[in-house]
Symmetry: C2
Subunit: 76 residues, 2 copies
């Protein structure tokens, strides 16, 4: 790995709070692991949003059914 | 890192299809990255199940409302 990429990788690790040492020869492995970790973390965040949206949709649906039920029984 | 842990780590990397080299001095960093990656992957899978369940719950709710609506209008 060229020194620029290596220094970028070290900065990335620092930003991600990894303080353990890294030597040149393991840099390609570490680069790949970091990429996969960031990718998985992003996917997790996206999915978390989807869960929140589905939960909201479900809640809205229940409230709608509840209010129709009330209207029906009160004759409104 | 003692040689047993190092050999365990190498086996884990192999199982996960990481073929890049690893030297002793970077083993603690790589160990931590692999642990975090597996943890995030597990969380992602759990959440994926939750999304599927919520979607199913929503679908069931919609079907139920749809069938009640039909019953109401057909006077059943």
């Amino acid at each position: 790995m060229e020194s620029h990429s290596l220094s970028q990788l070290r900065k990335k690790l620092q930003a991600l709070q990894y303080k353990e040492g890294l030597d040149d020869s393991s840099a390609p492995l570490v680069e790949k692991l970091v990429t996969d970790l960031l990718h998985t973390t992003d996917s997790y965040r996206d999915l978390k949003l989807q869960v929140a949206n589905k939960a909201q949709e479900l809640e809205d649906g229940r409230n709608k059914v509840g209010s129709q039920h009330t209207q029906y029984h009160s004759g409104v």
